[in-house]
Symmetry: C2
Subunit: 401 residues, 2 copies
């Protein structure tokens, strides 16, 4: 990365840290102040019909304060890991979407690190862990198997695979996720140490006020304690060495040399070297609610092919909710032949059949299960939520393609 790119990268990090640090003000405006203003605009007689409203606002205010306290703690605790030692007040200027994503981090905490998230989380995780367990039956040999999890989020799947004895690298692009996963994996001290109130940001489809303001305790399992326990049974395995997180885009860090240059794929020296090291080096890549984050899924498939060993596994679980389907933006890409093109972000949203057929250029389909009902970051006690009918695929990289 040249100096300018480094600065831009740090700017993004500082904005995200700022959004964590000042989340409380955002949340107060978003939830408490708008509700109070609405209440005050009602007629006196209408107000009398809602005798509970003031207590409700006080409750929400308390939840906002406790969420804010936790988010500040994350920011100041993990900032030094990224070399940030300046005072929070000088960090940056977060935009609405930076704050909005902090809300999303809380929902992700529920999904990955709470007992309420267990049912939703386990539908996919159990299938993935089942395949890996059967393919690598000998625990002591697993530390030699290299597993990659792009879109690692808050690291729960990573942690579970490390507990199984695998060498597992998480890969994540979003600083929002990286900050929180760093905190949860490395800085929590015991199970259920923290509580947050993730549901205060939605008042729709609530059965009751008390459900909206209920706390979620996390982490439901304390990562370090769990690893210490397992260490006793497997004294020769160095668990501390098994877990790593690589920050950056999947194609940039693990792709082949001939992709088109773009915002997420560079010819920068560090990236080129890292990609080279990763060629034919993984025994399994798990894409878990990830494959649809691509704006050009062909590049994801080429990246999977590039970093997997011949005959190694690609395990996929998730829907095809293409993240950029509604994104009207255009970005510049440079083809390997050096021609420059304006590429619309959206437009290459494939169907499941088309994606599998495209995959057959590099992979052999071993197992497919369709229509597995799964939520994602949903409030299981609300009056509804998005339900995916997920696809579960196990594919093997062809020996020769």
């Amino acid at each position: 990365m040249d100096e300018e790119e480094l600065k831009a990268e740090q700017r993004v990090l500082l904005d995200v840290l700022t959004a964590y640090y000042h989340y409380e003000d955002f949340a107060r405006r978003d939830i408490v102040l708008s509700k109070r203003a609405k209440y005050e605009s009602l007629t006196f007689e209408e107000q009398q019909l809602l005798p509970w409203f003031h207590d409700y606002l006080a409750n929400l205010e308390m939840c906002v304060r406790m969420n804010g306290e936790f988010m500040r703690q994350v920011a100041v605790t993990v900032a030094p890991s990224w070399g940030i030692v300046s005072s929070p007040d000088t960090w940056g200027s977060a935009q609405y979407q930076d704050y909005d994503k902090v809300r999303y981090v809380m929902k992700q905490i529920v999904r990955e690190w709470s007992s309420e998230g267990c049912e939703e989380r386990c539908t996919g995780l159990e299938r993935i862990m089942g395949v890996l367990g059967r393919e690598f039956p000998d625990f002591e040999q697993r530390s030699k198997a290299r597993v990659l999890v792009p879109g690692a989020g808050l690291g729960r799947l990573n942690h579970e695979l490390v507990k199984m004895g695998f060498w597992c690298q998480g890969n994540e692009f979003s600083y929002h996720m990286l900050l929180a996963s760093n905190y949860i994996l490395n800085c929590t001290r015991m199970a259920n140490e923290h509580s947050i109130f993730p549901f205060i940001h939605s008042t729709s489809n609530q059965y009751s006020r008390s459900l909206q303001t209920r706390p979620i305790f996390f982490p439901d399992a304390h990562p370090l304690t769990e690893l210490q326990m397992i260490q006793k049974d497997h004294p020769t395995t160095d668990f501390a060495d098994l877990m790593s997180i690589a920050s950056g885009s999947f194609t940039d860090l693990y792709g082949p040399e001939d992709l088109s240059e773009s915002q997420t794929y560079s010819k920068e020296k560090f990236a080129m070297e890292f990609r080279q090291e990763n060629a034919n080096s993984f025994d399994c890549v798990v894409t878990h609610f990830f494959i649809d984050t691509s704006s050009n899924v062909i590049e994801y498939l080429k990246t999977l092919n590039h970093c997997l060993k011949p005959g190694a596994l690609w395990i996929n679980y998730g829907p095809l909710l293409w993240h950029y389907e509604d994104d009207g933006a255009v970005y510049e890409i440079k083809h390997p032949d050096q021609t420059v093109h304006n590429a619309p972000v959206r437009g290459l949203e494939l169907s499941a059949e088309d994606l599998l057929s495209l995959s057959s250029n590099w992979f052999e389909l071993i197992h497919r299960e369709s229509g597995i009902e799964s939520g994602y970051s949903s409030d299981v006690r609300a009056m509804g939520g998005y339900k995916y009918r997920c696809e579960f695929w196990v594919l093997k990289k062809k020996l020769q393609s």
Copy 2:
């Protein structure tokens, strides 16, 4: 309405008609052109990996043209019913959201008037019709029972209640819905006369291209034929007289005299007279996926109380996905005491318990069923969709409140 308000109202109508008339161009840009541009920005080698792409674009183009033909037909057929005789080219200038809602009309057609929509639609409709059938067991007496359906959409529930012999008024605020319901109820000639391709607008969560471009035939039941058939068995009932649609806001047309004046509640002479006529005049109001369209649900409850006869029924089915929860707008309201206030649109999103407790000021709860799983305008053959856990309530207006 004074002349200025009339003009503004007609402007809105003309914009919606324009969106119907020029939907094809919008859809082509939205779907075909963006996909073609994306394809053309790929490297030649990437393009070779998608040998089916040109045929796919041609298929989408055909679907867009057929959808466009139908939408133009709706616009030019029903425009005269609203006194619009000018040429489509002079109608108006639709905005993105006007076009976007035409997409939504197609999904609503699937829900209300296709056999694919039957399962989703019937979960609520059967419960509602069940209660009304039991409360009014004598078919020949039902034409004296006045039923109101606010948020009537494309009129299917209305039509089903008229088939049961009830006098039923639909009430709808959206011209998008009014145009299409007018066309389907009055201008179709037989069952399954038309086909549209509602799913081309979403490429996410598709199992296959062919499902994305599948047609939906409608209306699955031809309204006029059905009524003619029933007429034979009930020669004394004048079915043509049983159905009506009132255009406007629920509170403006059916509310009490003392609500706050706003964009959706006026002191205009016609509205005041219509409200007066409707006082204590309905035997049942059915709110079906409607109650959460309010920005101040107290006004909806007062309106229900105002237009129902003492002891009459309020039947509610749906979730609480408050439509204005994320709307940051502020509007001016004038309280009955003539003071003027700036009211945030959002902020009064109640939980189910709070809404029921508020309702008890005017209503007695007779029956409640919770957690009824229902989709709404979802593509049942896609890899997922929103699933509500609906509430079904039957309440009776108190004899004295």
